[in-house]
């Protein structure tokens, strides 16, 4: 079974203001984008479970001209609080890489 790291050439995460994290999955080509971007393992619901947030707050966008799936979710705690492990959210993509599609 294909993993995210197999079908994407680049996956990144970043803060989008102090209250949101946004994740961009760049698929290797149009065929892989069309085959896998709608996978249930990458749905708003699945992402919400993975990051421990409310699915109703998750924004999900297919961006076909870039073969990109963009998913944004509210941070469980705002940037820089008492328990901050990743100030800019730049490492949050890592847990996506091993997801099986």
């Amino acid at each position: 079974m294909a993993k995210v790291s197999d079908v994407c050439r680049y996956v990144r995460s970043k803060n989008a203001g102090p209250f949101w994290i946004t994740v961009d999955l760049f698929f290797r080509d149009r065929t892989l984008f069309e085959t896998h971007s709608g996978a249930s393992a990458l749905s708003a619901q699945a992402i919400a479970e993975l990051y421990g947030v409310d699915a109703r707050g998750v924004k999900w966008f297919a961006v076909p001209h870039l073969n990109v799936l963009k998913i944004s979710y509210p941070r469980p705690l705002p940037q820089g609080g008492v328990i901050e492990r990743d100030m800019h959210g730049g490492q949050q993509f890592v847990r996506l890489l091993s997801i099986e599609l």
Partner: protein, 464 residues
Amino acid sequence: MSGVRLQNTVNVMVPVGALGTGVRQSNLDAGLARGAHVIACDAGSTDSGAAYLATAQAKYSRDAVKTDLRLLMIAQAKAGIPLLVGTCGTAGTDATLDWTRDIALEIAREEGLNPRIALLYSEQNPADIAKRAVAGQVTPLAPITDVDPATFLGCDHIVALMGPEPYIAALEAGADIVLGGRTTDTAVLAAVPIMRGAHAGAAWHSAKIAECGGLCTRKSRLGGVMMRVGADAFEIEPLDPDNICDPYSVSSHMLYENSDPFELIEPGGVLDVREARYEAVDARTVQVYGSRFNPRPYTMKLEGAAGGPFQTIMMVGIQDPKVLDDLDRFLAQMEELMAERVRNVLGDRIGAYDISLRAYGWNAVSGKVIGPREPSPREIGLLFVATAGRQADATLIAKTCNPLFFHMPLDLEMELPSYGFPFSPAEIERGRVYEFKLNHVVHVASATELVRMTFVDAPEMAHG
């Protein structure tokens, strides 16, 4: 590639993504030679955390900002075109705008320059914003849902994000240089194209693409870009002749640090790029058609931050293979023993507190329990973070936990090990935790209602 360039464009040189990160003289020379009508950049964002807003301190060093600003001011004077700098001093507070003003005046004196400088202040009094909240003029943005006046009163500093209108007003009043407080990244770049009647959608969209300088190019370390905004489209090209913009590098920048890839909400409307088409017009320039700007009632986003509790930290390095082979149990046990020791030794003397252990090299970034199937790490750096209402209490907690942090064996009946402290004293007073408190917009009757504009003439100050 059509090769047909846009005519009668308004050209904005964006030499750098943030003032103080390193302007290249060769970029400025190229931009002026290629017909820049204005130099514009910003000098901050919320990106670096709440501390800069809560304390009204700049992130970059005074020397770094002065080095960049000197090059920009000399280029401004030489070409006789305006220079706009938004979000001065990282968070765009009144204090950091004044800090930037003083640097500019010092440069003017040293270089014998004579610019008319406009200052745009957009910091807000928390009590005034609380009143506006009570009056129903403030709306929360997701994920925040409430508009409690106490939230605003609890902020150390609040800034409102300006649009392009105050910059336009300053230029129309004769400014050579405009230094702004907190401004949307895009507004400072879009101001002159909008002032001169270029296409609004193209002005805002090109500004979003250029906001981080070279990040929309293929070789971002080569510096900034030029935006050329026309009657129905825009072009974007790198300033360095060896750099390239292509449809991919340009269009993918819409994704960056933006939770929505198609819409960007600005003070007086919404940029919509759903219908945008990106085409290479030559080997290094991209033309973009189809951007739209849909006007909406004017709002200004609010940012507010405050200092919270205090932290004291310690760190040890651990290489002992027995500990590393059973790390999850080791960490759980240490956390439990520390809580017990603080309870027994300090009791009720301190109020609410938190102890957090982060094993770098194992799971510090994710915070998730790894489980036994993973291979053991070669070594870890174990970070201890005590958080309490006062710095002295956080330090008291750290000192109380020190013996466990230094000597706790994996099995408590074993001989006492000693882990590798890198410092003495072991504890470091890290200071406060700073937090963003606001994600709201304030509804205003005009773009300048919450903005104060003043002028300063460099020579007067120099002799005053």
